[in-house]
């Protein structure tokens, strides 16, 4: 009984139409949450949080940098999971998810790199330092670019889906290895003068806004990915009857 129900649910999950219907109410919710959290976090972080006693106001870049860096990794892992699901169960939705998160992931990684460099200029005295985290973020960026290039190169949509699922999966397996090795390398060679590994002892007025910002980033990402997935579904199922219906209903409303 239970397994039957699970099977049916699983089958349903694979249906773009069902996904589309299910997520319709989420879009506005996520969008609003993202907007509110980001606004709240920004105002709090930029205007009300106390300045750092060492770095002054430049530390406020943290409110962009840290959430961006976290999101960059999460999105890649999400792609890996989607890749696994797509390869094993041949679920079309998985590829929709990959194609929806890929550009956002690249952008967010670029943002983490950029904000990090901008932050590095006043704190490290240089735009770029070769350190464990900077390198693993850079490698993450290249992993994204690799999948992007691969997708560009394959015309057929089914094959594109399978190839990028495979590569996303292999990349995800390797992410821990890469991270571990890069950190090892850093500890051996770099003086720990600017080590990021220690959690800075921040007062709560400083990290609470960070938490809000991080939540905001994640909501924003969920919102964008969802929106892009829905757009992609509409495009892929352009000729299906339910899409026509949906469009006419919206016209009427």
């Amino acid at each position: 009984m239970v397994s039957e129900a699970l099977k049916r649910l699983w089958h349903k999950l694979g249906s773009p139409r069902w996904f589309f219907a299910l997520t319709t109410p989420w879009v506005t919710g996520l969008g609003c949450a993202a907007l509110i959290l980001l606004l709240w976090g920004t105002v709090w972080g930029l205007a009300f949080a106390p300045a750092d006693y060492q770095q002054g106001n430049s530390f406020r870049i943290m409110y962009v940098h840290v959430p961006a860096a976290m999101l960059a990794q999460s999105l890649y892992i999400g792609m890996g999971v989607a890749g696994f699901v797509g390869l094993v169960w041949r679920m079309k939705l998985a590829d929709v998810a990959i194609s929806a998160s890929l550009p956002l992931g690249m952008l967010v990684t670029a943002l983490a790199l950029f904000s990090g460099s901008v932050w590095g200029a006043p704190t490290w005295g240089s735009w770029w330092e070769w350190d464990g985290r900077t390198v693993s973020t850079l490698v993450l960026f290249f992993l994204y670019v690799g999948i992007f290039a691969l997708r560009e190169a394959i015309l057929d949509s089914t094959l594109r889906a399978r190839a990028s699922a495979l590569i996303a999966m292999v990349g995800t397996i390797n992410i821990p290895i890469i991270k571990y090795s890069v950190e090892w390398w850093n500890t051996l060679h770099q003086p720990a003068s600017f080590s990021l590994t220690e959690k800075p002892a921040m007062p709560s007025e400083m990290w609470l806004p960070l938490l809000v910002m991080a939540l905001g980033f994640y909501c924003f990402a969920a919102f964008v990915v969802l929106l892009r997935m829905r757009a992609e579904i509409l495009q892929r199922e352009m000729h299906a009857r339910w899409v026509m219906q949906w469009i006419t209903e919206r016209r009427v409303a």
């Binding site: 290249f142 690799g146 290039a149 691969l150 394959i154 190839a163 495979l166 990349g171 290895i177 090795s181």
Partner: protein
């Protein structure tokens, strides 16, 4: 099946002698370029053990491997041998494994054998030359294995070469780091065991993933026709 596949690979190796000699020649040439373009490198090395040399050597090995990977499945793909292999082999898994093994023998293995020589050219401390060889033997299998995955997915493209690089070089990073580190540890007289474990682990994990992923990649490429 294994003997006849091995026999074929050996024959091709003998006919296309280039496949053994060329990667080596490329490595020698690019090492030479380096030494010419950056003579300061060797100058400094003559004074104290150079931690640069190990990194440069390993990077060049990576790039050489990359160049060789591009043609790993291309010939078989274009001629239809690949599709026949996957369709008719009793165990396609074994066929792929043999291919990877031969690729390693004709690149990584040969490179490893010659690495002490290159180490000398780049100014690696004499006592670390044997460890250089050892680090290559331990690390290059991972390059062939992980590279095979990238090669299998890109073999259907005309412009595969550089997409392959993008896919594969990030995966090569850990090998590079531990490989270079092992040589440096030997130069500085420290323990090399952590690096040995790390390299071995990476090669083992690659061995576990690569044949399956390669098979999947080849199947995808064959559908592209």
């Amino acid at each position: 099946m294994i003997t006849s596949a091995l026999r074929r690979e050996l024959r091709i190796l003998v006919r296309a002698k280039g496949s053994v000699i060329n990667p080596l020649a490329f490595l020698l040439l690019s090492t030479m370029l380096f030494v010419i373009a950056a003579p300061a490198l060797v100058d400094e090395a003559s004074n104290r053990p150079s931690t640069l040399a190990a990194g440069i050597l390993w990077t060049l090995v990576l790039l050489t491997q990359l160049l060789a990977l591009d043609s790993m499945y291309r010939r078989d793909f274009d001629s239809g041998v690949l599709e026949q292999t996957l369709l008719n082999a009793q165990v396609p898994f074994v066929a792929v494994l043999i291919r990877i093994l031969m690729q390693w023998l004709s690149t990584g293995f040969i490179i490893a054998l010659c690495s002490p020589l290159l180490g000398i050219a780049l100014g690696i401390a004499p006592k670390a030359l044997l460890i250089t060889l050892f680090s290559m033997l331990l690390g290059t299998p991972a390059l062939s294995l992980l590279g095979s995955i990238g090669a299998s997915v890109t073999v259907g493209f005309n412009r595969g070469g550089i997409i392959l690089a993008l896919l594969v070089l990030p995966l090569f990073l850990p090998t590079l780091i531990f490989g270079a580190d092992m040589i440096n540890a030997a130069q500085l007289g420290g323990s090399i065991m952590p690096q040995v474990y790390a390299l071995g682990l990476i090669s083992l994990i690659s061995l576990a993933i690569a044949p399956f992923a390669t098979l999947a990649g080849l199947r995808i490429s064959l559908e592209m026709q």
